[in-house]
């Protein structure tokens, strides 16, 4: 039988289209339990490749013949070996090109909405890592918010849309992934904004992103309004776009809220987080559509693959917005936090410009889930 090669883009389609898939993950048990390809209708079998060196006969009965089987490993090599063994045993299987490394890097741009006068809002879903970036397009100009490090993808997308990138924002100093923001700005001549309170240690020039900053994209009315909303970090800033969308950064997610400890100051910032979620956001229109910088679980994806929900609905449904007692809230977001993201301290150093790892090292740092939330 034949061995097929699938790209991360093809697997992402299966996730978004809610298709069935059987994944044979041949990484270590620890790696699998920590982080895997998530899909609504995916089934899994985890057997490390080194337990299959003598043959795959033992696992054949566990592999379905009525649905597609994808073999996955860390980088690709082991999945090719196992896929070939399965093929020799008469099974038709595929392997994931580039393994979990390419899964972690894959970005799918999805249109969230058409704005007035031909404007568009795109969400770039980094499906393997749970990172969300945004591009607002209007009349030949673009603004990018929370870009991940694959700068070419954003620059090429802007070229394809025939727009000039004018403004690049980071809602905060990220700790779970490496920002592409200042590099995009450097290459395109755009202005790069960072909240000054998060930027006290950065070693590059930036424009201060302050509460009330107002930027127009194109000649029309599409505007981007900054709203200071500390709590995940002391500088965390949200954006209201075109009076319709609320980009919450890592403060508020669909099914969870931001954690205040990744810069090491949970006790200090929990009050800010409370103030942002229970006062500042409450003063906003409930019809705003929340667009966060992350998702944590695949259930947070809408049917079209976007991650977006009305603010008013989140006030009703998101547990983190419904903890009346302040002491209980404090304990929820400071005690029993999930493990911190892989290499988060190093990633912060990279985002401050203090260290400059090569591409392989950056990939290595970003392996694993983002873990920016408290549920």
């Amino acid at each position: 039988m034949s061995v097929n090669k699938w790209t991360a883009a093809q697997v992402a389609r299966k996730v978004i289209d809610n298709e069935e898939l059987f994944i044979l993950d041949v990484r270590n048990q620890d790696a699998f339990e920590d982080w895997k390809i998530e899909g609504h209708k995916f089934e899994y079998l985890n057997i490390p490749y080194f337990e299959l060196l003598d043959g795959v006969e033992e696992i054949l009965p566990k592999l379905p013949t009525d649905k597609e089987v994808l073999v996955v490993c860390a980088k690709e090599g082991s999945s090719v070996m196992v896929a070939e063994m399965l093929s020799d045993a008469g099974r038709e299987v595929a392997y994931l090109e580039g393994g979990m490394k390419s899964w972690s890097s894959y970005l799918e741009p999805i249109k969230v909405a058409d704005l007035d006068n031909g404007g568009e809002l795109y969400q770039f879903v980094r499906i393997g890592k749970g990172c969300l970036s945004y591009m607002v397009i209007s009349e030949g100009e673009a603004a990018i918010i929370d870009a991940v490090r694959f700068t070419d993808l954003f620059i090429d997308f802007a070229k394809e849309k025939n727009v000039e990138i004018k403004h690049v924002f980071d809602t905060h100093l990220h700790a779970d992934h490496i920002s592409g923001g200042r590099h995009i700005a450097h290459e395109t001549g755009a202005t790069y904004y960072l909240p000054p309170k998060d930027a006290t240690e950065v070693v590059f020039d930036y424009t201060a992103l302050r509460d009330g900053l107002h930027v127009k994209i194109g000649e029309s009315k599409i505007d981007v309004n900054a709203l200071y909303s500390p709590g995940h970090t002391i500088g965390s800033t949200s954006f209201v776009i075109d009076d319709q969308f609320l980009l919450t950064g890592d403060i508020l997610f669909i099914d969870s809220i931001g954690r205040p400890d990744l810069a090491g100051l949970a006790e200090d910032w929990v009050g800010d987080l409370r103030e942002t979620l229970y006062k500042r956001y409450r003063e906003l229109a409930e019809d705003l559509v929340v667009l966060p910088a992350h998702f944590m679980i695949i259930d947070e994806l809408n049917e079209d693959g976007t991650v977006a929900k009305r603010l008013g609905d989140l006030f009703k449904e998101n547990h983190g917005l419904n903890i009346e007692d302040e002491a209980e809230f404090r304990s929820t977001v400071t005690d029993n936090l999930p493990p911190q993201p892989n290499a988060y301290e190093q990633i912060r150093q990279v985002n401050m410009g203090k260290i400059t790892p090569d591409n392989d090292e950056q990939t290595e740092m970003e392996i694993g889930p983002n873990r920016c939330a408290v549920r």
Partner: protein
């Protein structure tokens, strides 16, 4: 440490370090020691887990100049 056999798996990508380690282990006797050198970073967790699953003993593991060294005593 009395090393019976040395395997140079430097420069090889996953899964080859483990495939070769397994073959080399088949050639030594119970109680003898295999030294493995590898540069693939994934080998660190994979060889450690493979050794454990096979009931062998990882006597020592060290990293020098980006080369991973494993000393495995056969079960």
């Amino acid at each position: 440490m009395n090393i019976t056999k040395t395997l140079d798996a430097k420069g090889l990508a996953c899964p080859m370090p483990i495939v070769k380690t397994k073959k080399a282990m088949d050639m030594i006797q119970s109680g003898e020691i295999l030294e493995v050198m590898a540069t693939d970073k994934g080998a660190l967790s994979d060889i450690t887990a493979w050794v454990k699953s096979g009931g062998h003993t990882l006597l020592e593991q060290k990293t020098e100049d980006d080369v991973l060294y494993f000393y495995i005593q056969k079960a």
